[in-house]
Amino acid sequence: MRRNLAAIIAGTAAAALVLGACGNDGGSDDPTDGGGDTGGDGPVTLTITLNAIAGGKNAAEADWIENWVIPEFEAAMAADGTEVTVEFEPQGVDDEDYKTKISLDLQSGGGADIIGMDGIWVGEFAEAGYIQPLTAVGGAAVDDWDGWDQISEAVQNALSFNGERYGIPQGADGRVLYYNKDLFAAAGLPEDWQPTSWEEILEAGRALADSGVPIPLQINAGTAMGEATTMQGLLPLLVGTGAEVYADDQWIGGTDELREVLEFYRTVYVDEQLGDAVLQQEASGRDTSFAQFAAGEIGVLLEGDYFWRSVINPAEGVGTAPMENRDEVVGYTRIPATEPGSGINGQDFVSMSGGTGRVLNPNSENPELAWELLAFMNSPEAFEARAAGTLNITPRDDVNAELLSSDPMLTFVSDEVLPITAYRPGLAAYPEVSIALQEATEAVVAGDPVDDALTDYADAVAGIVGEENVNND
């Protein structure tokens, strides 16, 4: 038995060490690394990875890759005499899990040739050396690409860091308030709703509560929803108070504006219980909120245009929580500032925008060919084929001019929301600050006093960026 014990200790030690062994010395440049064929004249394999999967998350995008990009690109290359095989590695998970996966891929020197990522991750990935400027990877052909002329500077910035382009953005998005017109009618609220202050949102919430709606208001909070909490909850509220998460080279600390936002959360979730506080802590709370909105259990939901085109989209196999009568039942309206005129730049209405994009993997064995594929995926023809699945606001002005008018919601975002929107700072520290903000909302929603949450947040953000870079006034 004694020998067994020794073996057990050894085994346990090994188990405890697995985590430690996960770290290694960063990217390897060995071109024979990873799968696929090793250059030369033989057949070449390129891989694409995105957080999209047929029948699940971003299904239309996955279908477009499988059914249009891959066959069309392979055919076009074959016509040029190059034999290329393109493989798609789909993912269908929460954004945070996807980020973990691709950072581990890149850290270990592997990963797909073309990787989809949220624009806000570019800074920390670039600083880690996991990704490099497009020109450094794809060669001179990158700067010569004619597509850049069609993509506005603001949109290009979404995938840029320190003034250099790291990837091709996939377009702009914007946040609005969605509301269920049937529930509004039952509560005696106008079908054409446009609140002009937070108080009017709360009033609508109270009316919905009185008419028996289970969840009158749903404003994302908590860490389980990850960046969705920051982007579809805290930041749109914060810009409504006139403050920004990063302004004048300083990060927001425990300021009055942030206190106002947290107090709004407290009113909604604790004092008046207009929202479902438990939902904010559930592991799959965001997906559940989608399903509940689709089922007519949520009155008002703050979400991006993603929600309209990829979640409640009634088209076959596109939405994850499709609503057959979306166009009749679901209304959308701009997010008001706290009071008229109190938003950033004195605005009455506010929004936040971000954007995803696709980067080239510096570990790619065939970087120039990978660039050709990436450019191909961003050609006007490619966006037109993509629009056959679901329409979204593309990065290209030429394509938008032609396609957007067919969808009133996206036209609304493009015309009414994008001009008043704000962006997150493209700094490497942002994701950490974002988590601290999520924790503050989680504490408030769980019932902690606003003052405690605010103090904890101020300490956390000082720990991340240093006391001198925090604005606590």
Binding site: M1, R2, N4, L5, A6, I8, I9, A10, T12, A13, A14, A15, A16, L17, V18, L19, G20, A21, C22, G23, G26, E96, T100, S103, L104, Q107, W121, E124, F125, E127, A128, G129, Y130, G222, T223, A224, V278, Q281, E282, A283, T288, A428, P431, E432, E442, A443, A446
Partner: protein, 314 residues
């Protein structure tokens, strides 16, 4: 280790035997014997010693998953260890782990496993097979599948448990996260204790039980005076294994992900959320090392107890 082992029972071993063991039994000589052992040593070095040293090194850097510190990690000495040991979250996590190990492992699995084995000791035929199969199934089902079943059971809206109890809308994993993962772990791990105790009970000499009954010992007295002394070694082994497994288990992450607000973040989960989603690989390695040391202490403690127990029996 063998020296102290034989020292525990000096009177029982023949002196020549003891001398022979220390000598070159196989006649290989030091060099050739070393050659035979070398592959094993190399494997241990590669997969055990190297990662251990590497963990120590990583734990002394500010290495991160992304950002500047990923490209150029800096040596920070014992900062990570000091931060971890001065961090309320670490102690909170350690405390949760202690409760988790004691309640779900040492008490839950051992008692339930023994009870099932004791209850089934005279049952034969298909009843025994069915019960054993059911208990074993919980152990054999892959953790990912088992956790999915439990998510379905405990779901707030469509969960089986809420339907059975009529408690619609209770979010068990949010409101009672520790209770949920403890019950889950008992469910998963009882099979091992049951199997081990079943075989241990079968090895209790029937003659001793018979004699006990002859002098009028009741069930409880038989259990206390005959059965338990006979299976003491098994109990010890079982408790050690369960303690270490439970201490290191990561499966509860699949149920609660450590949440809400770290209320179920046992140590293994805490390390993961710190190192991978949190990106602080250096800090994660430092806490891993602390966890490894705790493991060693537990194992050595049991070794001492085991030695004292086997010495005492002689």
């Amino acid at each position: 280790m063998s020296a102290t082992g034989t020292a525990a029972g000096p009177g029982l071993r023949r002196q020549p035997g003891r001398r022979r063991r220390a000598d070159d039994v196989a006649g290989l000589g030091r060099v050739r014997a070393g050659l035979f052992v070398a592959p094993a040593l190399a494997l241990i070095g590669l997969f055990l010693v190297f990662p251990a040293v590497w963990t120590i090194y990583l734990g002394m850097t500010d290495y991160r998953l992304t950002g500047l510190a990923a490209a150029n990690p800096e040596f920070v000495g014992l900062d990570n260890f000091a931060t971890a040991l001065g961090d309320d979250e670490f102690w909170h996590s350690l405390w949760l782990t202690l409760i988790f190990v004691l309640v779900s492992g040492v008490i839950g699995q051992t008692l339930l496993g023994f009870s099932v084995a004791w209850a089934l000791r005279r049952v034969r035929g298909w009843v025994k097979s069915v019960i054993e199969t059911l208990v074993l199934a919980a152990w054999v089902v892959p953790a990912s599948v088992a956790s999915f079943l439990w998510l379905a059971l405990l779901d707030r809206r469509t969960g089986t448990l809420n339907a059975l109890l009529g408690t619609e809308g209770t979010a068990w994993l949010i409101e009672y996260p520790m209770v949920a993962i403890i019950v889950f772990n008992v469910w998963v791990g009882t099979a091992f204790s049951m199997l081990l105790f079943s075989s241990a009970l079968a090895a209790v000499p029937p003659s001793q039980l018979e004699s006990a009954r002859m002098v009028g010992a009741g069930s409880w007295q038989q259990l206390r005076d005959v059965v338990l002394p006979n299976i003491r070694g098994h109990i010890l082994t079982n408790t050690l294994l369960i303690t270490l497994w439970t201490f290191n288990t990561f499966t509860p992450y699949l149920l609660t992900a450590g949440g809400p607000r770290d209320e179920s973040a046992i140590l293994a989960v805490y390390i993961y959320t710190t190192a991978i989603p949190g990106g602080q690989l250096g800090m994660g390695a430092a806490i891993s090392l602390i966890m490894l040391l705790i493991n060693l202490v537990i194992a050595l403690g049991y070794l001492r107890v085991a030695r004292a127990a086997s010495g005492g029996r002689r």
